[in-house]
C-alpha cells in the first residue's frame, strides 16, 4: 500500500465518520444528563430526508441543512417529552421513535420522490490553498467538504462548553445526581430537555452530512444503524466530547475500508467490509466489559422530582 492510497483511505474515513462525529456531539450531552437516547438513529434518518427534501425544493444546501436540524430537533423534542416529562423508559421511547422515523421517512420518501431518485446539490469542498499543500495532513484533513470541517471543529467547542462553562458543570452534575442539582436551585427539567433536544439536533445535522456530503440523494433506511455505533463510542470515549469524537473517527476508518476494497477489486466479497463497522463495535463492546459501569450514575434511570 503506497502513501497515496493511505491518504485516500484516511481522507475517506474522515469524510465517512463525519456523521458519526456530529451525532456524537448530541449523544454525549443527552447521556451526560442520564438519558439513553436510542432515537438518535431516527433523528439522523429524518434529518437525512429533510436535508435532501429541503435542498431539492429550494435549491439551497444551507436551507436543506436547516431542515435537517429542525427535523432532528423535532424528534428530539418528542423524545424529551417522553423521557423527561412522562418518565417513559428510555429504551422503549427510543425504539418507538426509531420505528416511527422509519415509517415516516419511508412514507415521506415515497411521497416526495415517487419517481427516480432525484439528485441534489452537495456541500461545497473547502480547501484553502495554503493548507492544501501541507504534506499528509493537507489532502487528508484540509480537503474536505464544509460539513466535515464543522464535524472536526465542533467536538473542540463542545469540550470547552462542557468543562469550562457553568452550564457544562450543571450538565455534568445532573446525570450523576439530579436531586443535588435540584437542591442547588437549578431546573433539572430544563437541563434535561435541552440536552435531549441537542441529542436530536446533532444527529439531524449528521443526517445531512450523510446525504449531502457526497451522495446527493436519499434512500430508505440509508442510515443503516450508524447512530448506534455512537452509543458504543460514548462508552469508549468516557463521555468526553473529544475522546468520543476520536472513537468515531476510528470507526470511520473501518467504514472507509469498504471503498478501498471495492477500488482494489480484491477477492474479498463486498459484503464483508460492509459488516466491518458493526463487527468492530461488537468487539469494542466485548472489550469494554467490566468498565461498563462507568458513566453518569443515573444513565437510563427515571427521575421523579416529587419522590420523598
Amino acid at each position: 500500500m503506497d502513501m497515496s492510497s493511505i491518504t485516500n483511505w484516511l481522507q475517506a474515513s474522515i469524510r465517512l465518520s463525519a456523521p458519526l462525529v456530529l451525532t456524537s456531539i448530541g449523544a454525549v450531552y443527552n447521556e451526560r444528563v442520564g438519558i439513553v437516547n436510542i432515537s438518535i438513529e431516527g433523528s439522523m434518518l429524518v434529518g437525512a430526508l429533510a436535508a435532501v427534501a429541503g435542498t431539492f425544493f429550494t435549491g439551497n444546501v444551507a436551507i436543506g441543512t436547516i431542515c435537517a436540524i429542525a427535523a432532528g430537533g423535532l424528534l428530539g423534542l418528542v423524545m424529551a417529552y417522553l423521557t423527561v416529562t412522562r418518565n417513559t423508559s428510555h429504551l422503549v421511547a427510543g425504539l418507538a421513535l426509531n420505528f416511527f422515523a422509519l415509517g415516516a421517512t419511508n412514507m415521506g420518501f415515497a411521497l416526495l420522490f415517487p419517481t427516480e431518485r432525484a439528485r441534489v446539490a452537495t456541500y461545497p469542498v473547502l480547501s484553502p490553498a495554503e493548507l492544501r499543500g501541507v504534506p499528509f495532513f493537507g489532502p487528508v484533513i484540509f480537503n474536505q467538504t464544509v460539513i466535515v470541517w464543522i464535524a472536526l471543529i465542533l467536538p473542540l467547542v463542545s469540550g470547552w462548553v462542557l468543562y469550562r462553562t457553568s452550564w457544562g458543570l450543571n450538565i455534568r452534575a445532573v446525570g450523576d445526581h439530579p436531586r443535588a442539582v435540584a437542591n442547588a436551585g437549578l431546573s433539572v427539567f430544563r437541563l434535561k430537555y435541552v440536552a435531549v433536544i441537542l441529542g436530536g439536533v446533532f444527529p439531524g445535522l449528521a443526517g445531512s452530512a450523510l446525504t449531502l456530503a457526497e451522495l446527493g440523494y436519499f434512500a430508505p433506511n440509508i442510515t443503516g444503524g450508524l447512530a448506534w455505533i455512537v452509543l458504543a463510542a460514548n462508552n469508549v470515549g468516557k463521555w468526553n466530547p473529544i475522546r468520543v469524537a476520536a472513537a468515531c473517527l476510528i470507526f470511520g476508518l473501518t467504514d472507509a475500508l469498504q471503498l478501498r476494497f471495492q477500488a482494489l477489486g480484491s477477492a474479498i466479497p463486498y459484503q464483508f467490509p460492509l459488516m466491518a463497522p458493526y463487527l468492530l463495535t461488537l468487539i469494542v463492546l466485548f472489550g469494554l466489559t467490566g468498565r461498563a459501569a462507568a458513566g453518569p450514575k443515573t444513565l437510563g434511570l427515571p427521575y421523579d422530582p416529587e419522590a420523598v
Partner: protein, 514 residues
C-alpha cells in the same frame, strides 16, 4: 438563647398531602433567631416533609410562611436559597464525579458568565474551612471523601450561601458518636453567632443534647413544643408515639440449649467494591437466644448477613448452620429464615402478587406444582393461611405486593421466611422504615421465634431495640467484633465506645470465638 430574640421564621397552618397520605396536617412552627430547634418524631411523622416545604421542594396545599415577619413564597429551592434558607438532607446531595469545590459552586451565580471561574470561590472555601476548622480540600473528588467529611461539606455549602436558617435532617445517621459530638459543637457555635437551626431527628437523646426547644410531630400534626432539658425521655417518647412505650427490656425465658446453631469461624469477605468487609470474624449463636448485632450501619453487618445466607462467598473461613456448611444460597426453609436489609430489592418481587411472593422459595414443590404445572388453587390456599397467621392486610392474595404498605410488605417477607420454622433466623435491619406498630409486631415475632427454640441473629443500627431484645449483644466495627456484652447489664456508653472502635475502652478481648 437570647431572651429578646426575634422570631426568625413562622410557618402557619401548613398542610400537605401526597396521594393517599396526609403528611402535614395544619402545622404551626416557629423558629427564633439564634435558636437550635429540634423536630422530633417517628419515621413518617412528617418532619422531613415540613422542612421540604420550607425549602421549596414541595408546595403546601395550604398555609403560609413568614420570614422575619414578612410573608414569603418559596416555589423552589432557588428561592429558598435566595431567602437564606439552607438544608442538609438525609441522603447527601453531592455529585460524586465532581470535586468538593465544584459541588459547592453548583447553582451559584457567576462572576463572569458563562465562564466557570473557580478562583474566588476557592479562596472563600479555604477561608471558611479555616474558620470552622474543617480540614477539607477543595480539589478532592467526592468519591474519595469519607462519609464524615461529606457531612461537613454539606454544611459548608450552606455557609457558602450565607444561610441564616439551617435545616439539618437526621445528620447523625451516618456518624459515630464522637463525630456527632463535634457536629453538636459546631451547631451550637453557629447558633451563638446568630443563625437559626432546625434539627430533625427521631432520637430522643440527641434532642436533649443539642436543642433549645423541641417540637414533636406525630402522624402529620404537632403534638407540642417543649424544653427537652425539662421533659423526661418517657414524656417525649409518649408524645412521639401516643401511647405507653416500653423502653424497658422484654421479659425473657432462660435459654436451655447449649447447641450452636450458627457457627462462624474465621470468616473474611469483601464488599461489592472489593474492599474487605469482614475480617477474620468468629461467632456462635445458640438455640433459644437472640444475639443483637449493634454498630453504625456500614461496618460489615450487611455482608455478614449475606455470607450467612449464602448470597456472598467468604474469601476465608467457614459458616455452618445446624452443622451444615453454607455453600451457595441457603434454600432449605427449615434451616434459615432470612429477613434482608432491603426488602424491596432482595426480599420481595414487587411486581408479583402476595401469593407468588409467599411461595417464592417453594413454588416447585408439591402441592404448588404438580406434574410440571403450577396449581394456583393450592397456592392461593396456602397464601390465605399465611395471610391469616401473620396478619397481612391485603384485599386478596393476588394483589400485587407493591401496593401494600411497608409494614405489610415486611409481614409478607417474615411470613415466607418463618413459615418453614427455621433453626436460624437472621433479621438484617428488619425494622427500618416501619412505623411503630409494625416494629412492635416484628419484635414480637422475633421473640416468639426465640421462644420456639430458634437461634436469632438480630442486626440493627437502632441501639434501643438491640438493647431491648437481645440476650447477648455484639458490637461490630469495620468488619470485626469489638466485644460481646450481656444483654441485661449492658452499659450504653461502653457500647458507644466499642461502636467507634475503641478496644482499649472495652477492656475485654475483641473478636475471637464467642
Amino acid at each position: 438563647m437570647d431572651q429578646s430574640a426575634d422570631v426568625a421564621l413562622r410557618m402557619v397552618g401548613i398542610t400537605k398531602t401526597f396521594p393517599g397520605v396526609l403528611a402535614n396536617d395544619d402545622i404551626d412552627f416557629e423558629l427564633m433567631a439564634g435558636e437550635v430547634h429540634g423536630l422530633l418524631g417517628e419515621n413518617g411523622a412528617g418532619k422531613t416533609t415540613l422542612m421540604n416545604v420550607l425549602y421549596g421542594l414541595h408546595q403546601p396545599d395550604s398555609g403560609e410562611i413568614f420570614l422575619n415577619g414578612d410573608k414569603v413564597e418559596i416555589p423552589s429551592p432557588r428561592e429558598a436559597n435566595d431567602l437564606g434558607i439552607g438544608m442538609v438532607h438525609q441522603h447527601f446531595m453531592l455529585v460524586e464525579n465532581l470535586t468538593a469545590l465544584e459541588n459547592i459552586v453548583l447553582g451559584l451565580p457567576l462572576d463572569r458568565p458563562p465562564l466557570l471561574d473557580l478562583n474566588p470561590a476557592r479562596a472563600r472555601f479555604k477561608g471558611l474551612v479555616n474558620e470552622y476548622g474543617l480540614g477539607l480540600n477543595p480539589s478532592t473528588p467526592i468519591w474519595q471523601l469519607p462519609v464524615g467529611d461529606r457531612q461537613w461539606l454539606e454544611i459548608l455549602k450552606l455557609l457558602f450561601r450565607d444561610a441564616q436558617i439551617l435545616i439539618l435532617d437526621e445528620p447523625t445517621a451516618v456518624l459515630t458518636p464522637s463525630q456527632a459530638e463535634r457536629l453538636f459543637e459546631t451547631i451550637r457555635r453557629l447558633a451563638d453567632k446568630g443563625r437559626s437551626i432546625v434539627f430533625i431527628s427521631h432520637k430522643l437523646r440527641e434532642m436533649k443534647e443539642v436543642a433549645d426547644r423541641v417540637t414533636v410531630l406525630r402522624d402529620g400534626h404537632v403534638v407540642g413544643t417543649v424544653d427537652p432539658k425539662e421533659a423526661t425521655p418517657f414524656e417525649l417518647a409518649q408524645m412521639m408515639v401516643g401511647r405507653d412505650v416500653f423502653l424497658d427490656r422484654r421479659p425473657r425465658l432462660p435459654s436451655e440449649s447449649k447447641q450452636a446453631v450458627l457457627e462462624i469461624n474465621g470468616v473474611s469477605c469483601q464488599d461489592d467494591r472489593g474492599i474487605p468487609a469482614l475480617k477474620d470474624l468468629s461467632l456462635n449463636v445458640y438455640a433459644g437466644e437472640i444475639i443483637g448485632v449493634a454498630g453504625v450501619d456500614g461496618n460489615g453487618q450487611r455482608e455478614l448477613a449475606e455470607c450467612i445466607a449464602g448470597l456472598r462467598q467468604p474469601t476465608k473461613g467457614i459458616i455452618q448452620i445446624d452443622g451444615k456448611p453454607v455453600s451457595g444460597v441457603v434454600h432449605d426453609p427449615s434451616l434459615l429464615g432470612f429477613i434482608p436489609q432491603d426488602r424491596r430489592k432482595m426480599g420481595l418481587v414487587l411486581g408479583f402478587s402476595v401469593a407468588e411472593n409467599l411461595i417464592l422459595k417453594k413454588f416447585v414443590e408439591s402441592p404448588f406444582t404438580r406434574r410440571g404445572v403450577m396449581r394456583w388453587d393450592a397456592i392461593r390456599r396456602e397464601a390465605n393461611a399465611l395471610i391469616q397467621e401473620y396478619d397481612i392486610m391485603t384485599p386478596h392474595s393476588m394483589m400485587p405486593v407493591r401496593f401494600l404498605s411497608g409494614g405489610n410488605q415486611q409481614r409478607v417477607v417474615v411470613a415466607r421466611e418463618l413459615s418453614g420454622k427455621p433453626a436460624l433466623v437472621v433479621a438484617s435491619q428488619g425494622t427500618r422504615g416501619l412505623d411503630v406498630g409494625a416494629i412492635e409486631s416484628v419484635h414480637k415475632i422475633l421473640l416468639r421465634e426465640r421462644n420456639r427454640g430458634a437461634a436469632v441473629l438480630f442486626i440493627s443500627a437502632e441501639l434501643p431495640e438491640v438493647l431491648a431484645l437481645s440476650d447477648r449483644i455484639i458490637i461490630m466495627f469495620e468488619g470485626q467484633i469489638m466485644g460481646e456484652l450481656d444483654g441485661e447489664s449492658a452499659d450504653v456508653d461502653l457500647i458507644g465506645e466499642l461502636m467507634m472502635g475503641h478496644r482499649e475502652a472495652a477492656g475485654m478481648a475483641a473478636g475471637g470465638a464467642v
